[in-house]
Structure formats: C-alpha cells, structure tokens
C-alpha cells in the first residue's frame, strides 16, 4: 500500500511538485509520464525519502515516510521500497565487482553472507545475466548488462515497491524490449512506479498512466484508454510527439516551453484552447468516467465541430446521406473517398456554400443557424485550386488583406502589418516585390500558401481543406502538408481534411472517415483504419493507394454495388465504426 497525499517539493523556493495525490495497492503498476523537468524523478526520490524539503504525506503501509528520521528511512529504503536509477553509468561503483555490490545491498539489511551470495547468483540469473558476469567490474559490462545488474540490485531484498526511473532510456531497441519484458515479470506482484518520458515503455509496463506537468497531475487513467483517446491537450501533445509504430500521423510537438510557478493552469501558456479562467485558477483533478481523471477547465479537449444527420440531395441524387462526426480542437479528420462520394458537398455544406436539406452542425457546442461574419472568423476553407480561389485582379497583398477588409478588422496600416506577419507564418517572403505579385506570377505551391494565409489571417479555429494539395507536385505537396501540421501544432487548428488520397490522409490525420455514396462507411483512428480496415471499400482504397513496390497490382472491385449494404447496421469493432451488411 502506497498513498501519496498532497506531496509538495520545492528546490530553492521553486515549487517542483505541487500537490500530487496517488494511491497504489499491491499489484498496481503505474507510469508517470511527462517532459523532462515535470517533476517525475523528484516524485520518485521523495517516495524513497531522499529529499528534505517535502510537505504532504507519503504513506507506506500506514507509515508516513516523510515523518521518519534518517535511520528509519534507511531501513525502508532498498528493502521495502527500491529504486532503479536513471543513470546506468553512475549508479554502480567502478571499484567493486558487480556481484559484491549486490551482496552488499542484501547485507545492509541484515542476513547471512553465504545466503546473500547464493541469492545474488540466483538474481543475476533471473535478470538474464551469465554467472560469470558477476565477477566483472562495471566498466567491463555493456549498458544493457549494467541495467540488468541494477535491476537485480533493486530486486535483491524483494521489495514491495519498485520505482523505475527511466529504466530503458539509454538502451537500444532489442535490449529495451528484453528489459521491458524482464521488468514486467519482476514487478508482477509488487507496486511498480515507472518514471519515463517514453510512452511506449509506459504503455508496456503500466496499467495506469499518470501525466505529470509542471509538478501537477493533469491526466490519469487506464493505459490503453488514455493512449488511444487522450483527453488533455498535453497528453495528446506527448503522444503526437513520440515516435512509434502505432500512429501514422507525422510527428508534432507541443508549442512553447514548460515553466514552473505559472499562475492558473500550469499548461495554459502552451494550450491552444485556453479561456480566461485558465490563467487565473488552477483546475482540479476531476474524475470523468471509468477511472479517467483530468485537470482541465474545459473538461479536456473540446469538440469543435459536431455534425449530425447531415443530408443534401440534388434532385434524386443523395450527395450527402446522413453524415455524423465530431471533430475535436487541434485534431485532423481526414475525409477520404473517391470523387463523387460526396466529400466536397459535405465540406461546402459545413462551410455554408450549400444549404443542407436537414441535419445539425454545431460549432464549439453552439448550433450554427446563420453563417455570418462571426462564423467565418472561426471557420475557414482552403480550396483545391489555389490560383482560382484568388481573384486574378488582386495581388498578394490585396488577396490576403481581403478577409480583413471584409471583416473590417483594424486600421489600414494594421491590416497590412498583419498580412506581412501571416505571410511570414506560412513561410512566404513579405517584401514589397512579393506583395505586388499577381496569382499568375507565382507558383502553385506559393499560391496555396497565399490561400492558406488568407484563411488564417482571421485566426480561425477550424480549417476545411478541400483537396488542398491535389493540384501540386509531390515535393510541394509535402511542404504544404508540413506547413498545415506545423500550424496545427502552433495554433491548435482543427482540420477537416478532404482528400481522395488515403496515403496523404494517413500522414496528416488523427482520425479517418471513409465516405462512399454520401455515407461515412468506416470511421476510426487513422492508424486503425489503415492497418485493419473492416469495410471492403476501405480495403479497396488501401489496395489502390500508392506504394513503392513494383510487383503488386491491386485487384479492383469493379462493381461498387457489391459493396452496398442491403441491410444497414452499425457495428463497433476495435474502436472503429462501420456500416456492415
């Protein structure tokens, strides 16, 4: 039993841990994740009783470790609670054989020497080290072997709590997998606390994940649930920035830097969905559902656009036939499907270029009734053919200024300043020469950047991108996609990305919705949809998607009608939603 209550730690007056409450029972495994400097290691050290300036309580089997004196703490340390330290190189004494160091760890807490030696041999074996390695000095061992020795040392007295501080940080992938497996077995019937910035290690070793930010817990929940469906913007940022084989979207970072001692929500300076209250008050950690806890004034990542039951027919042709989806703040949904599947009609209906027959569109929780200037300051669109979306009678300055002119934002000079700033943001020159160019004088990629600048100059929250790169060649397309991802990272932009190219969609989207004949037939996290498609049409799209192998030709289903479902039903499978026969 390990209870941490309102733990606060300061170094030189700087609050590093700011009221952490955790509750662990035997058999629990918990990972503490967060960027470096979040206070993860401090948390581990304070549980070990290694820090002086702590307040709050750390109850181990009902005894508050923080109230014990040095001698009593030492009794617990290494025996009941042990820790595998972060820096493998420094944790072993170079002058002693590793087996002697493990024996010493046992003898400190009493016992027979012979028994200790025997136990050490056994321990080394159990962490996968040859007996002969016990006679080696630390410098004769590899990093992985040293890590194994440290683990053996931590397990030497069969402790109840094991704290693993970055147990695999400096290891190569193979050793990492090995050690992870080892730790998983070793920590089975103990309380294990894994401190790591590596989400993949956390996901393998822990049943629960705690996200620590600037000394506060911002999100906590069951591992799988938290990783597939992060609710706090910071958690999502962490997952997006960690390379892994599960997600397919390009890596994205989190804007800004972590700072301690920030007033209000610790994350608010880097948060893209902050509101007034975030800079004033600290959000409490509240339980949402099924063990998920989150500290956010907005209740986690907010749904920005909610579409339900949207329908649009052109005479007897049903272009959009009952579409529902939700797009969250800072998220990308890719709408894929062949031409004629109703993607563009759906986009135009949302943006208001086409009136829907029925259905609901909600923006930030409010139903959209009238698409006025205010609506268009929050929702913007970029078009397939950038040069056509800019009047050929307008130069770059006039084109980018147009939205500001229409919305009557700022004075003339301010508008021009803003245009220059936004052009910088989309990585275009903002000198006089470029500002005076007309659409036919710039390249397709530049024109699309201008179109993006036009859309962004009003600071929208949602960008509807209708085939934004299909008219561009591959290298320019790559740059534009990167730009969109960067802008999303920086501004928390939500993207409704419409494309027929599932390969492009895979790289830029968090979620994917496959459209066929006006319906969304499959929907889910992009990696799930592309790796394990369920609907035959999705499979077909993936088959037909570009790859670099020369010997496979996709088998096409000629008759789309075989894909039509005679009876419609909705099945939930692996988190994906599809319409089945």
């Amino acid at each position: 039993m390990l209870d941490i209550e309102d733990l606060k730690v300061s170094y030189d007056g700087q609050r590093i841990l700011n009221g952490v409450d955790l509750h662990l029972v035997k058999g629990d495994s918990m990972a503490i994740i967060g960027e470096s400097g979040a206070g993860k290691t401090t948390l581990g050290l304070s549980i070990m009783g290694l820090l002086k300036s702590c307040s709050g309580r750390v109850l181990f089997d009902g005894v508050d470790i923080l109230s014990l004196d040095g001698k009593e703490r030492r009794k617990i340390r290494g025996k009941d609670i042990s820790m595998v330290f972060q820096n493998v190189e420094d944790a072993l004494d170079p002058l002693y054989r590793v087996s002697d160091q493990i024996v010493e760890a046992i003898l400190v807490h009493g016992g027979e020497e012979n028994e200790a030696v025997y136990k050490t041999r056994h321990l080394l074996q159990s962490v996968g080290l040859d007996e002969s390695k016990g006679d080696a000095y630390p410098h004769q061992l590899s990093g992985g072997e040293k890590q194994r020795v440290l683990i053996a040392m931590a397990l030497a007295n069969d402790p109840e709590v094991v704290i693993l501080d970055e147990p695999t940080a400096s290891l190569d992938a193979i050793n990492k997998a090995d050690i992870t497996k080892l730790l998983k077995v070793a920590a089975k019937d103990k309380i294990s606390l894994v401190i790591t910035h590596d989400i993949s290690t956390a996901s393998k070793l822990a049943k629960t994940i705690v996200v620590l930010y600037a000394g506060r817990v911002v999100e906590m929940g069951p591992t799988r649930d938290l990783l597939t469906n992060p609710r706090h913007p910071y958690t999502r940022g962490l997952i997006r920035s960690s390379p892994n084989m599960t997600t397919t979207k390009d890596l994205q970072g989190i804007p800004g830097r972590m700072a301690h001692g920030v007033k209000g929500c610790p994350f608010h300076q880097r948060c893209t969905q902050k509101i007034d209250i975030c800079s004033r008050e600290v959000p409490f950690l509240e339980e949402l559902d099924s063990g998920r806890n989150i500290a956010c004034h907005r209740g986690g990542i907010v749904p920005l656009l909610e579409v339900s039951g949207l329908e649009k027919s052109f005479e007897s042709f049903r272009a959009v036939d009952g579409v529902d989806f939700t797009l969250y703040e800072g998220e990308t949904i890719a709408l894929v499907g062949e031409s004629g599947s109703g993607k563009t009609t759906l986009a135009k209906t949302i943006i208001g270029l086409i009136e829907p027959d029925s259905g609901d569109v909600r923006l930030e929780g409010e139903p959209v009734c009238q698409r006025d200037k205010e609506f268009y300051s929050r929702v913007q669109m970029i078009y397939q053919n950038p040069k056509e979306s800019i009047s050929h009678r307008m130069n770059v300055l006039e084109a980018v200024r147009e939205p500001l002119d229409i919305q009557k934002i700022g004075k003339s000079a301010e508008r021009t300043e803003k245009v220059k700033r936004i052009l910088g943001e989309v990585e275009l020159p903002n000198d006089e020469e470029f500002l005076n160019k007309y659409p036919h004088q710039i390249s397709g990629g530049e024109a699309q950047r201008v179109a993006i600048a036009r859309a962004l100059v009003l600071d929208p929250k949602l960008l509807v991108a209708d085939e934004p790169t299909s008219a561009l060649d591959a290298s320019v397309q790559a740059k534009i996609l990167k730009l969109l991802l960067n802008l999303q990272e920086k501004r928390g932009l939500s993207l409704l990305f419409i494309t027929h190219d599932i390969a492009v969609a895979r790289k830029v989207s968090d979620k994917m919705a496959v459209m066929l004949k006006g319906k969304i037939i499959e929907e889910g996290p992009t990696s799930q949809v592309t790796n394990y498609p369920i609907h035959p049409y999705t499979e077909m799209l993936i088959e037909a998607a570009p790859d670099l192998s020369s010997d496979s030709f996709p088998e096409m289903v000629k008759d789309l009608n075989v894909l039509e479902s005679p009876e419609e039903g909705v099945a939930l499978s692996r988190g994906q939603l599809i319409v089945v026969k």
């Binding site: 270029l353 609506f375 929702v379 229409i406």
Partner: protein, 286 residues
C-alpha cells in the same frame, strides 16, 4: 482572361476610328466656349439665314443665332444624355441583374418578371407619351431613358454573374463573410468590366439617338439646345439654301457621333469574343 482591352481596341483600325470620332466630339463639347465667341442663344448675326462667313462659320439661323455655336452646345446635350444614360442604365442593370443572380430565389424571380414586362412593352411609345407630358430637361431625359433601357442590360449582367459567381474566388470571398456588395463590386464587376463598357457604349449610342429623335419630334424642354431640335427647325426652311449649312452639318455631327460609338463598340466586341479575336485579320486589325 488577361486581355488588355484598351490596347486591343486602339490597335484595331475600326476601333481607332471610332475612338477618334468620339474623342473629337467630346473635345468639341467640352471646349465649346473656347471655340466660339458667341453664346448659343444670343442674337449674334447681322442678318438671319446668313451664309457661312469668317464671323459665322456655319452662318446664322432664322433667329440670327450662330449655327456653329449651337452645334457645339448641342453636342454637349447629346453627349451628356448619352453618357448619363450609359452610366445610370449600367448602374441599375448591375444592381438589379447582379443582386438577382447572387440572391436568386424569389427576389430573382420578381425582378426577372419585371424585366420581361419592361422588355415586352414598346419603350419608344412610352417614352414619347411620357416625354410629351413631362417636356423633360436633360436630367429628366436621362432618368426617363435609363428607366426604360436597363432591363436588357440587367438580363445580360445577370447571366454573366451567374457564371462568375460559381468561380472559386467568389466562393472564397463568401466564406470570408463578404456582403453582397463586396462580392458584386469587388469580384464580379471588375471581371465583367469589358462587357460593362460594351454595354455602356451601346446604351450611349441608343440614348443619343433617342434624345435626338424626341427633340426632333419636339417633345423636350424648349430651352434645351439639341441637334434633334436644330434639325426640326432647319427642316422647315428646306426651300432656302440654308439647309446646306444648317441641316446638313447637324445631321453629320449626329451621324459621326453615332458612327464613332458604333465603331468603338464593334472593336470592343471583336476584342471580347475569342472567335472574332482569332480572325481579327479579317476585320481590319493589324
């Protein structure tokens, strides 16, 4: 669509001719006070019906007024009516045609039925009737002619707007929250500039002709100096030699103005129509 219409028209021989004629007429009208020592209404001559001389280039009329002077001031009336009607008609056409196309629906149906009705009514009869009653001066004449000539232009402009409003830059402006006036005057009118100019030239030509006709029939403000009225008065004295320097130059001035406008309009059309542009060698271009 980047065609320099000014260059196209001024390179075309017919266009050049037209522009030259219109230019001369405009200059004559503008600089009238500098081109004659008399005013159009003063009793300037020694005798009535004096033949052309050094003092009176085109002689004098029955009221001993200098005919050259009256011709110059008559040009002012003609061109004022012509350009006035052109601008006013086009403005109404753009407004009604443009908004009908942009809004569509009931609004569009309403205005298009009005247009149909106005096109179906023989406007000349109405103008004659109304003008007889009103005895219009220049301003009333401009309004009267405009009110009856805008429907044709409105229909053309509506059709053009319908096709242009589907262009992406118009959609884009719409999604910035643009009002109809922004879309109409910043996106549609500039794109239809050349067509508008062609429409204006047509309107001006017709208005000048109508004004002259109405004046000739004697149904305009009596104090107005107009070529039509000059011809009507001159016609009375055709038994005298005087028609040679009274009726003929006036008719010529009117004809040349109309020809000038027609030529300019024709060159404009040649530049606008891609099929005609390709074959422009056949049309006296260089």
């Amino acid at each position: 669509m980047h065609v320099n219409f000014w260059r196209e028209v001024s390179r075309n021989n017919i266009g050049r001719m037209g522009l030259l004629l219109v230019g001369i007429m405009t200059a004559l009208a503008l600089f009238a006070p500098f081109l004659t020592p008399y005013t159009p209404t003063e009793d300037a001559g020694t005798t009535a019906f004096a033949p052309p001389s050094e003092d009176h280039w085109l002689g004098t009329n029955d009221a001993r007024q200098d005919i050259w002077t009256r011709l110059l001031y008559g040009a002012r009336t003609s061109l004022a009516v012509g350009f006035g009607v052109a601008f006013l008609t086009t403005f109404i056409s753009v407004l009604i045609g443009g908004t009908s196309a942009i809004f569509g629906g009931l609004y569009d149906k309403f205005w298009m039925r009005i247009v149909d009705a106005l096109l179906a009514i023989p406007s000349l009869v109405i103008i004659i009737l109304v003008a007889t009653y009103l005895r219009p001066n220049i301003l009333v004449m401009i309004v009267l002619l405009s009110v009856l000539t805008w429907p044709g232009g409105a229909r053309v402009f509506r059709a053009q707007t319908l096709s242009i409003k589907e262009r992406m830059h118009v959609s884009a402006a719409h999604t910035f929250g643009a009002s109809w006036s922004h879309i109409l005057f910043r996106h549609i009118v500039p794109d239809l500039g050349p067509i508008l100019v062609a429409m204006m030239i047509q309107d001006a030509r017709r208005a000048i002709f109508m004004e002259a006709g109405l004046s000739f029939l004697g149904i305009s403000d009596p104090s107005m100096i107009s070529w039509g009225k000059m011809m009507q008065f001159a016609r009375v004295f055709t038994y005298l030699e005087v028609w040679k320097w009274w009726l003929l130059p006036t008719g010529m001035a009117l004809s040349l103005t109309l020809i000038g406008l027609s030529f300019t309009g024709f060159a404009m059309e040649t530049a606008l129509d891609p099929r005609l542009r390709r074959n422009k060698a056949n049309f006296g271009g260089d």
